[in-house]
């Protein structure tokens, strides 16, 4: 019997390793269940006081829009900010920014400091919208088609080649 012991140990180890690697520790592999479905309904305050609240109706504009979850406390959000500015400026994509679990004053300060790429903003102070959308962390960016259906979800910051290699092709496909 004991000659099977080493084999047993190895089988156990391999099983644990496999479990670790396939488990949801790797958010890149989670595809949002929401893809292909209409974006969940919501209604939240805008970051600027004089604008009406942001609702899911703002997503159904007939052209693709990007919804970006960000926060002033989030370091990678700073890293991806140039990409957002480029999307809004050079590619003329309407961007909607949702400040996630963020003090509104700090979020506004963040946008004042780095520039505001968003045509509309919203404040998700308690993270409720984030939960409905299945956001696992910020930054996260959703591509919504003209009829308000989620088409693509970009996990993590848009940096490096991920703008050209991933996001733009998805966007082109919708246009």
């Amino acid at each position: 019997m004991k000659r099977f012991l080493p084999l047993g140990i190895v089988v156990f180890l391999v099983a644990v390793f496999l479990g670790m690697m396939l488990s949801d520790r790797n958010p890149n592999e989670i595809d949002s269940v929401l893809i292909g479905r209409p974006a969940p309904a919501f209604s939240i305050d805008s970051l600027s006081a004089d604008t009406p609240p942001l609702t899911e109706a703002d997503l159904k504009t007939g052209e693709p829009v990007l919804v970006n979850f960000f926060a002033s406390w989030c370091v990678p959000c700073r890293a991806e900010h140039d990409s957002l500015m480029e999307l809004a400026g050079r590619y003329r994509v309407p961007l909607i920014g949702i400040a996630y679990k963020n003090d509104p004053a700090k979020a506004v300060g963040f946008l004042n400091e780095l520039g505001n790429p968003f045509s509309k903003t919203g404040l998700d102070l308690d993270g409720r919208v984030g939960i409905d959308w299945g956001v696992s962390g910020v930054p996260e960016t959703f591509l919504i088609d003209g009829s308000g259906v989620i088409r693509y979800r970009h996990w993590g910051p848009i940096v490096g080649d991920s703008l050209e290699a991933r996001l733009l092709p998805e966007l082109e496909a919708l246009r």
Partner: protein, 160 residues
């Protein structure tokens, strides 16, 4: 017959020696794993949840909060804050900081809380090589922010 018996005896001796050592080692392992050599690996938001006591040794992981870094007048003591984006923990460290210490970067420190709630770090761990990132500086649960290391992975062609 005698030969057979000796062989059995020899086998018995070897096996019992091996078993004794293994059992001893297992006890040792269990003992050590229950004792001081295990340190909890916490992130700032865990500290309150776990009700960590003053003087308990643990490892603290997270991001060095941007703008929090300062040096005291003695030139050797540094203060900074470690954050996991939900909570922030002030840290004090006396010594030379490792080369790869940066604001906004992941860091692992080892030490204990003092009575005023400041984490007194005895060690600030450096990253060993470019592919090795200290575990525990990553956010663990939903609702927390992302980590610059993920950004580094995605941006590997653009350098960094």
């Amino acid at each position: 017959m005698a030969g057979l018996q000796t062989r059995k005896k020899q086998r018995l001796v070897v096996v019992s020696l091996a078993v004794t050592t293994l059992v001893g080692a297992s006890l040792l392992v269990l003992l050590a794993l229950g004792g001081d050599s295990l340190s909890l690996f916490l992130q700032p938001s865990d500290i309150k949840d776990r009700q960590v006591e003053t003087g308990q040794h643990f490892r603290l992981g997270g991001l060095v909060e941007t703008g929090s870094f300062s040096r005291l007048d003695d030139g050797l003591t540094y203060r900074f804050a470690v954050t996991d984006c939900l909570a922030t923990q002030p840290v004090e460290f006396t010594g030379l900081l490792p080369d790869l210490f940066r604001e906004g970067q992941g860091v692992v420190t080892e030490g204990e809380l003092n009575s005023s709630g400041v984490f007194i770090a005895s060690t600030v761990l450096a990253k060993h090589d470019e592919n090795y990132r200290p575990p525990g500086t990553m956010p663990k649960a939903e609702g927390q922010c992302s980590h610059p290391n993920d950004q580094a992975a995605a941006a590997s062609y653009t350098g960094g």
